[in-house]
């Protein structure tokens, strides 16, 4: 039976290209998602061998989607697609248990290798990104732990994307009141009291692109 893959990227054209490529390599892409939330839902439902996630996605970014998938479907291997300038997420991703980081433009060479390594239980990082990992280790820079729960992080991403409490509530299937409570808790925990500050924090934490 071929290896099962769930593919998540917010660009249709990239998903199409990746799918053709992966199927030619003998993998089975059994579902595609266009945001992190959909990726989580599909991955938990289908329990694929591998989930390939773009880092920058609306509603829920790739890193937080991986966190949720790895927590609830520990047998699934997560591989993240990254742009060149997103190397700062690599260390955090590795700590979450992400098994591969592949630069998007070098996916043709690196993605298959990353999947093979991941299935063996090993880890693969594209050469363009691995330099950043070494630097991070050398400078002993530590990842700042933020005090938010995964759910709060997702609410924060949605707030930073400009969603209203009502829209947030609809997307997360919770009541508007609960969404507002999350928002208030986030502000309290971070000691940030205006939306502009939350957006800045979300950018700094890589939840959304600057």
């Amino acid at each position: 039976m071929p290896i099962q893959v769930v593919l998540a990227d917010d660009h249709q054209i990239v998903r199409d290209g990746m799918k053709v490529f992966l199927e030619r390599e003998g993998y089975k892409v059994n579902a595609e998602a266009q945001n992190g939330q959909e990726a989580v839902r599909l991955a938990l439902k289908l329990q694929p061998d591998v989930v390939v996630l773009d880092i920058t996605m609306p509603i829920l970014n790739g890193l937080d989607a991986a966190r949720e998938i790895l927590h609830n479907a520990p047998d699934t291997k997560a591989i993240l697609l990254s742009m060149h300038d997103e190397s700062k997420y690599v260390l955090e991703g590795l700590r979450l248990g992400v098994k591969g980081f592949v630069t998007k433009t070098h996916a043709a060479e690196d993605l298959v290798q990353a999947i093979r390594q991941a299935l063996r239980g090993a880890t693969y990082v594209s050469p363009e990104l691995s330099q950043a990992v070494f630097e991070a280790i050398q400078t002993k820079s530590d990842i700042v732990q933020d005090p938010l729960t995964p759910r709060e992080r997702q609410v924060l991403q949605l707030v930073a994307e400009g969603k209203t409490s009502k829209e947030t509530a609809n997307l997360l299937n919770i009541s508007t009141k609960t969404a507002e409570t999350h928002r208030a808790r986030i502000m309290e925990k971070l000691n940030i009291h205006e939306t502009a500050g939350l957006v800045r924090y979300a950018i700094r934490r890589g939840l959304i692109r600057p």
Binding site: H11, V14, M18, M83, H84, A107, I203, R209
Partner: protein, 323 residues
């Protein structure tokens, strides 16, 4: 000798003082009005006000002139009742003469607000452009690489090598687009704040042009994002001048904060220039000073240039923190 050149331009215009001509006309019109309370006299007041605005006279000079004239008429009045009437009427006359100043002031406020809106739109537009350049083009490049890989499999080995070559060029394009996008909309600015953003700008400029740029700062946390964005653009422009026009070897950027202001100076060891040349609009445009000036004006800031041939150039910028 080093001199100072202040922007905006207004302040360099020598104030001519009130010509006796305008002074005489003002006194005569006021006198006629006090005698006749005629609307045509008020119209003269308004026209005199317009003329004085046009000729760049200060509002304080005009008020002083009015005060002198009306005091004279008050002192000539026969009774306290009459002097009260004279005072009241001359007040009406003054309001009329000052209304062109009010209009100018309003127009200035509106122009400033429009400038601010334009600036914000421009920043948004730049951000959108940077995203299109980098993110969108990056996605397409990723797809092109995948397709090339597919095609490459069907090719004999010697042709495959040629395709490899194409992919290396695509990598260079990607690097250049990323560099350009970061320059347009520095991610570090939103991400890490002004100082790290300026440091990576300095590193990028040093790498690209060989100009050694150092950035030092004191007390710089918590600046409003708008001010950070403007300071970043000003430094970017100044450093560009240092390398492109002044052929400098080093440039020092120094930022500090004091007494409700944030100050920034950019000093280079380049060729410098004669400051008298600065009055030519063409030169200021060439140096991007108009852009700098407009960005600063929106925030109520000012800038100052010191330069002389062979003595390098220093640009000093000052922005109030609260308005």
């Amino acid at each position: 000798m080093m001199g100072l050149y202040w922007l905006p331009d207004m302040s360099t215009k020598a104030s001519p003082g009130l010509s006796s001509d305008l002074e005489g006309m003002y006194v005569a019109a006021l006198q006629d009005y006090l005698r006749q309370r005629d609307e045509s006299c008020l119209h003269r007041a308004y026209e005199l006000g317009r003329r004085s605005v046009r000729e760049g006279r200060s509002i304080l000079e005009m008020i002083e002139l009015h005060q002198k004239a009306s005091l004279q008429f008050v002192s000539q009045s026969a009774s306290s009742v009459e002097s009260a009437r004279v005072l009241e009427a001359s007040g009406v006359f003054l309001r009329e003469a000052m209304s062109p100043y009010e209009m100018t002031n309003r127009a200035y406020g509106e122009a400033n607000a429009a400038l601010q809106r334009l600036n914000e739109t421009l920043e948004e537009e730049v951000k959108r452009l940077a995203q299109a350049l980098h993110d969108d083009a990056g996605q397409l490049l990723a797809v092109v690489h995948l397709r090339l890989e597919d095609i490459s499999r069907t090719l004999p080995a010697d042709l495959r090598e040629g395709l490899q070559e194409v992919r290396r060029v695509l990598d260079q394009i990607e690097d250049q687009l990323r560099g350009l996008a970061h320059e347009l909309h520095p991610p570090a600015l939103a991400d890490e704040g002004l100082l790290p953003a300026l440091q990576s700008l300095a590193a990028a400029v040093s790498w690209r042009t060989g100009l050694r740029v150092t950035v030092e700062a004191a007390e710089l946390t918590g600046l409003p994002p708008k001010i950070e964005a403007v300071l970043y653009r000003v430094v970017q422009e100044a450093v560009k001048n240092s390398s492109k026009h002044a052929h400098a070897r080093t440039a020092k950027v120094w930022l500090s904060r004091s007494q409700g202001h944030v100050c920034c100076s950019i000093e280079d060891d380049g060729t410098g220039f004669d400051q008298n040349q600065l009055s030519s609009g063409e030169m200021r445009r060439g140096l991007g000073l108009l852009g700098i000036h407009e960005r600063l004006q929106v925030l109520g800031g000012s800038c100052e240039i010191e330069s002389a041939p062979g003595r390098g150039t220093t640009l000093k910028v000052k922005i109030p923190l609260e308005r």
